[in-house]
Amino acid sequence: MSQTPLLKISNLHVRLEDDPAVEILRGIDLTIMPGEVHSIMGPNGSGKSTLAQVLAGKDDYEITEGSIEFNGEDLDDLGPDERANAGIFLAFQYPVEIPGVSAMQFLKAAVNAKRVFEGKDELNAGALLKHFRAKADQIYVPFEMLKRNVNEGFSGGEKKRFEIFQMAVLDSVLGILDESDSGLDIDALKIVSEGVNSMRDGHRAFLLITHYQRLLDYIVPDQVHVLVKGRIVKSGGKELAMELEENGYAPFGVNEPATV
């Protein structure tokens, strides 16, 4: 009996809501099975981040053709919050700073929103703290970070680590990492990668969106896809990332390297 894909994107065409003449994704097909790690690599402007945002339900985009199924269900009618509660997590390329809301407050609200969505009782403060502490240890996040305001004054590395921590706290099953490696030094990259690897359990899947091959040294993908001008032009195993490291995106008509 065949397994249901965790994510199945079929012939996805997307354009900008505000500027319908601009088609950003032009027929994407992608299937991710539970437990798999896929990477989408592409040069600037290829549509990588758009794909991430469309998956998370951002309404700046219009899907003109094709479909996205998550666990066999069409995502079309679900808002970003429902997708999150169903298990999709987008780690932002640029996490938003929110002065005035502590990370703790924010995560308590998020965890309990998901529990309500699942028909469970809300967790009390004690249970939430225990949960946060366990995840902080797992993702190498200092617990003190939770007392600060959401992303406010966080360094680039802290922001990315806090994103991964949120995914662990929310226990999401699909993590979409939108250029989580950008702007990180090697040490920060390692910490983020270890956090991701600690969540790989044969069920949880990841979609790593990146310009650079470097991240894939630390989080080894099952499949690599090259996205150029809104289309996946080549798919392969992790060796494809090596090819890109060597030749950049030149073979795909874009003169950009894939190394930092």
């Binding site: 919050d81 996490p95 938003v96 002065p99 005035g100 809301v101 407050q105």
Partner: protein, 432 residues
Amino acid sequence: MTMQSTVEIEAMPEQPQWARELRESARARFDKIGYPSTADERWRFTNVDAITRIEWAADGPTSDDINLDPFQIPDLDAALAVFIDGQLRADLSDLSGLGEGVVCEPLIEALSRTGVADRLGAQSATLTDGFTALNDASFGSGLYIEVQEGFAAHRPIHVLSLATSGDTPIAAHPRNLIVAGKNARVQVIEHYNAVSDEIVNLNNAVTEVFADEDAFVEHYLLERESERGYNISTLFIRQGARSVVHSHTVLLGGAIVRNNVVPTLAGEKAHCLINGLYVAHNEQHLDNQMRVRHAAPNCESRQYYKGIMNDKSRGVFTGRIIVDKAGQGTDAIQTNRNMLLSDDARVNARPQLEIYADDVKCTHGATTGRVDDEAVFYFRSRGLSEEVARAMLIYAFAAEGFDRMQLAPVRRLLAAEMIAKLPRAEGLSIEV
């Protein structure tokens, strides 16, 4: 408004001569200038015709059966002075527990105390404003609070003015005089509220604060009256050297509210914090006028005012920093930020600088925006509903203003009230 709303001068035989003169000259001033019109630059955005059209009474039938519980500040251990429709109710008040060196009594009984003649009206009479003149001419109710040199009031003083008269619109002219001697400390909460949403009343309040050298005064103005009520509140502050005064204003109620804060930094190295939040919905009109004068060297002033406007409401912020020639080394910051929650809400923000000294650091700025869509998406992508996301972000916008308040119970109450006023915020739980 008719002059019925002023206290009859002849009806107060025991008052000292100076008080009589103060009232008489104020009445002459009022007769000359009258109520402000929108032709007056300082009142350009606030039309008070709705106030002056009403036949106000000075008093009316009040109920003895008043439950104060809903108007207390939970968990706040404070002395309490209760004014019902402008009249002090000693039976409902408790001014005990303030400690040695503290005087807290009805102003009208304190007129012969040392220093009162010199201070009462010393600041208010300098402002050419009809409402202030009317208060000067009418003062009767209100408190005299004095903390003598080196003493600290053991509890904050909660001055609760409650409007209860449903049938007769009552105008009151609360008048407080707060004197903090050298190195003295006091916290005062001026709180305006009404027993129902239907009450039409006017509070035309004036408070004068004198903070001597090294004194600390924290003053709160909480405006929670009915949305059919009117409030004109003016806070004058005169600061001596190294004194620290914090003024917090939170406007939630009222149909038309005008909040004037007029500090003069008159002694070297004085510090003044002017912190405010106005949250309006429906057709509320909330106007804030700051006039900060640096009259001595090396003083600091910090103005942080934020507005949240929904529906067809309107906010006004005018902030003027005046630096006298004597104000060398002034360090003044003024910010006004507004968040509009609807297409019909409006705000007028006017930051103004008037500088006569050459060695000064003054920054000012005003912004008006909406809830950040990127932040809403971020919160929604973590599973929070759009309503909760928006409410959290609006709360977050206001939060830093609450953080500046030293009295946690006041902070908690106001934050909860503000949240309750936000659209569809039922799902929001915030710990303050």
